[in-house]
């Protein structure tokens, strides 16, 4: 699998063939001895006022509180960084939620901007009438978020595991853009969790898929560190 950094133009997948676009790869595990744990967390801080999504269509957002969404982002990024849109938009992820269910919040990340329509395209739906709030990152708290995801994943496998284990760490490109040389902080924080003293592998992504921490329903996340642990219970291996 390969992406193109913060350009968001093309991703390639090679599975039993030469790498190409429009392909998905899947790996399945089976057997009674398999144990899988998962954790997903951002560590982003919400800031500023809550805004209402007053106009949107699918995953394209046009207006907050009657004001073009792109105007808001450009104002917050400043002239220099605004030139780096859509990539620089990842510095301010968007937290959205249905006002009827405020605890079921989702973080959306920017995929593209439409300068003419003053619109922004997100990696997931942004329904009209929902509430939105900007988020910003503090290195320490982003690292703490990564550590929490690692802890959740380790706990998910549970105690008593004795066989082989592996941890897959997937972090968002947005986190890396923000953290720069501090990127290693979140890896250290995740790896430093005592339950995660196992072989690890990982990569940066444009979105993470994991069960929601509240609902348990598997869905697309943005701007998170998502950790999955796979373990095999000793004496009954069949992977």
């Amino acid at each position: 699998m390969a992406g193109d950094g913060a350009d968001f133009r093309e991703t390639l997948v090679g599975a039993d063939c030469a790498p190409r676009t429009q392909v998905a790869a899947a790996v399945g595990f089976y057997g009674a001895a398999i144990r899988i744990g998962h954790g997903s967390a951002g560590g982003w801080d919400e800031f500023g006022r809550r805004r209402q999504i007053t106009r949107s269509r699918g995953n394209v957002l046009f207006q907050f509180d009657g004001e073009p969404a792109l105007d808001l982002y450009e104002r917050y990024l400043g002239e220099d960084e605004a030139r780096g849109l859509p990539g620089s938009g990842l510095l301010f992820p968007l937290r959205i939620f249905d006002p009827e269910r405020p605890d079921h919040d989702i973080v959306r990340t920017i995929l593209a901007v439409g300068h003419d329509a003053r619109s922004m395209t997100f990696a997931g739906d942004v329904p009209e009438g929902w509430t939105a709030q900007l988020m910003r990152g503090n290195f320490d708290r982003l690292a703490a978020g990564a550590a929490m995801a690692a802890r959740q994943a380790a706990d998910g496998v549970g105690p008593g595991r004795t066989g082989d284990q592996i941890a897959i760490l997937v972090s968002c490109i947005g986190r890396r853009l923000l953290m720069g040389q501090h990127t290693a902080d979140e890896l250290e924080a995740a790896s430093g969790e005592s339950g995660l003293q196992v072989p690890q592998l990982g990569f940066y992504s444009y979105g993470e898929i994991s069960p929601h921490r509240v609902s348990g329903v598997c869905e697309l996340h943005n701007q998170t560190m998502t950790v999955t642990t796979i373990a095999e219970v000793a004496g009954n291996s069949s992977a």
């Binding site: 500023g48 990024l77 400043g78």
Partner: protein, 639 residues
């Protein structure tokens, strides 16, 4: 050492283990750059956020001010509304109070306190319903059982159903209360002074049961009282008697002297009737000039009833002075005894009515007890009336004719038309039976007109020297206009008026005499002869002869029958004949059946004679206009 610097040093020392200063400086510079961007971004976003929050704050401030102003406005509106509400409460004609779910007074108006005579202390906010009720009873309300009244009111308001109650005050006022539960507990009650309304209702109820003029019980109340009396009869054996009364000639009083006088008469009669009975008995006025008495009977029921009836007859018969009009009025009474004459109120009333009918038909100013025979008789009379009504259209009537002859010449001078009724089942019905019925039912006018028409039509074919004689009753005189009817009938038949004789009895002159005398004059002016019939019976006042110059007087047959045996009769016949001669009025002896009687009436001076001797009444076809030969004339010595 900062962990980032340690990491940079590690990266700068990669490979040879030598620290590559260029790499290190590059990393450090990049980190500073990143840090600057991060700080600048943070600064900007914080500044923006502050700006936004300030804007929000200003918006909130404005909103607070707007809301505060709106609240103040609302408050002043509420105050104004409260003032209006207070004014409405104060000025409404009802007492109003409102209690909360804990049965404590929330508010009441002044009128409420005034209605029950409560002080402001007794009606201050927060007092309990129980204490208000107790205060009301202490001051002026008078329930039969105070404790029970309070418990009932409390139970009512707790039932949370709307309810209505009427409170009677010691001063006689009646106050109505309407409870309506309110949402969220408690209730509102409207108190209204309905004293006037109650009085009006009582008055209306009284008026519905009593006659407005006399204040006597009406028919409905009478039936009710009879039902009660019947219940007492069944339980305790208390007999009672029903008297139905009808004022004789009341209609004449009403018509001639006017309704105010009639009303006055009814009031006086009411007073006299009340004086004839015991307090426990009841006088009622079922309608018009009808009165009824319901009297309990003690001792011999029949004897007591007779005594009462006689007292009533005497009391009603006493003279009346009504605005200067001196009147004598009689009454007829029908009596039904309970239980002998009926098992229920309707039956008793009906039978008393039948007895009254009988009393009236047998001559007024009398009482009659109900008997089974009366019922049969009245039913028969009613059946006959129905038959009579059909008789005219069915052509069941026929005229028979009986001649009157000139005693000297034996020639027929006039022929009297006499009506006969051929009843399909009963055969020939005598006039004495059906004429009173016809008069009673009013059919007499139609029958009389038929007789006149038929008689005139028949007589037109007779020799011109022979007149036709038709009887005209007092009732006919009253009910029809004889002048109009006669002139029309004569014109239609072509009979000259000079060939018509009208026979009337003295009763025509007895009632409403002035008008009738006037009519007689007009008839005579037309050329019609007027004959006084049945003279000698009744009053036979000579003043009648002075009131109208009759063409003929018919001496009643009863005198002629007795002529041979009674010297008095002979004297009367000759006196009347003599009177006629001197007043130039022809006399006719009626009922001459024998030659002897003819000799005697001729000797007495009578000019004409009528009777079987000259021919029985016969159909028109059998009439013989030749001089009548009297077969045998014996001489009888006049005693």
């Amino acid at each position: 050492m900062h962990k980032l610097l340690a990491r940079q040093l590690a990266r700068a020392a990669q490979g040879s283990g030598e620290l590559d200063l260029e790499i290190l400086l590059g990393l450090v510079s990049e980190a500073y750059g990143q840090s600057d961007s991060d700080r600048q971004r943070t600064d900007r976003s914080i500044a923006l956020m502050i700006g936004e929050l300030e804007q929000l704050n200003r918006g909130l401030d404005q909103l607070v001010q707007e809301r505060t102003a709106a609240l103040r406005e609302r408050e002043s509106q509420l105050q104004a509304q409260n003032l209006r509400f207070d004014a409405a409460l104060k000025n409404m004609p009802y007492g109003l109070c409102m209690f909360d779910g804990d049965e404590r007074l929330i508010v009441c108006n002044e009128r409420y306190g005034e209605m029950y005579g409560l002080t402001s202390e007794q009606t201050k906010r927060g007092v309990t319903l129980r204490s208000v009720l107790e205060a009301r009873i202490a001051v002026g309300q008078s329930p039969e059982d105070a404790d029970r009244y309070i418990e009932e009111r409390l139970a009512e308001v707790r039932s949370i159903e709307p309810c209505y109650v009427e409170n009677v005050m010691r001063d006689g006022r009646v106050l109505s209360v309407n409870h309506r539960p309110m949402q969220g507990g408690g209730w509102v009650a409207i108190h209204q002074d309905i004293t006037a309304q109650k009085r009006a209702e009582t008055q209306i109820a009284y008026m519905a049961r009593h006659d407005g003029l006399t204040g006597l019980a009406n028919r409905a109340v009478l039936l009710e009282k009879m039902d009660e009396a019947l219940a007492r009869l069944r339980r305790h054996g208390n007999r009672f008697t029903i008297f139905m009364l009808d004022l004789d000639l009341f209609k004449t009083v009403n018509d001639s002297l006017g309704h105010p006088v009639g009303d006055q008469l009814l009031k006086i009669v009411t007073g006299r009737l009340a004086a004839c009975i015991r307090e426990t008995d009841i006088v009622a006025r079922p309608g018009g000039d009808e009165f009824a008495i319901l009297a309990t009977a003690d001792g011999d029921q029949r004897e007591t009833a007779i005594a009462t009836a006689n007292r009533v007859l005497g009391a009603v018969a006493a003279p009346y002075d009504l605005d200067g009009h001196h009147l004598n009025i009689g009454t007829s009474i029908g009596i039904a005894l309970a239980p002998d004459h009926g098992a229920d109120a309707e039956q008793l009333m009906k039978n008393a009515d039948l007895a009254l009918y009988k009393a009236k038909s047998e001559g007024r100013d009398a009482y009659r007890f109900f008997e089974d025979a009366i019922g049969v008789e009245v039913r028969t009379r009613r059946a006959h009336q129905t038959d009579l009504r059909n008789a005219l259209s069915n052509g069941e009537f026929e005229l028979y004719y009986q001649p009157t002859v000139d005693i000297a010449t034996r020639r027929t001078t006039s022929i009297e038309a006499l009506i006969r009724w051929h009843h399909p089942q009963r055969g020939m019905v005598p006039p004495a039976e059906f004429i009173p019925l016809a008069e009673e039912s009013g059919l007499i006018s139609q029958i009389g007109e038929w007789v006149l028409r038929k008689a005139c039509n028949d007589a037109v074919h007779w020799p011109p020297s022979i007149k036709v004689s038709v009887n005209l009753s007092a009732v006919q005189f009253r009910k029809i206009c004889p002048v109009d009817v006669l002139s029309r009938t004569l014109a239609e038949s072509g009979l000259p008026p000079e060939r018509l004789e009208l026979e009337i009895t003295e009763s025509v002159l007895l009632h409403g005499s002035d008008e009738n005398v006037e009519t007689l004059h007009r008839l005579r002016a037309m050329g019609i002869s007027i004959v006084l019939d049945d003279f000698g019976t009744g009053y036979s006042s000579l003043s009648y002869l002075r009131m109208f110059p009759f063409d003929k007087i018919k001496i009643d047959r009863s005198f002629v029958h007795e002529l041979a045996k009674s010297a008095d009769c002979a004297a009367i016949v000759s006196a009347v004949a003599g009177l006629g001669r001197s007043m130039r009025i022809d006399t006719v002896a009626e009922g001459v059946e024998t030659g002897d009687q003819l000799v005697l009436v001729q000797a007495a001076g009578c000019i004409h004679a009528q009777g079987y001797l000259f021919g029985r009444p016969c159909p028109v076809a059998e009439l013989d206009f030749e001089p009548i030969a009297v077969p045998r004339l014996s001489r009888i010595k006049v005693a």
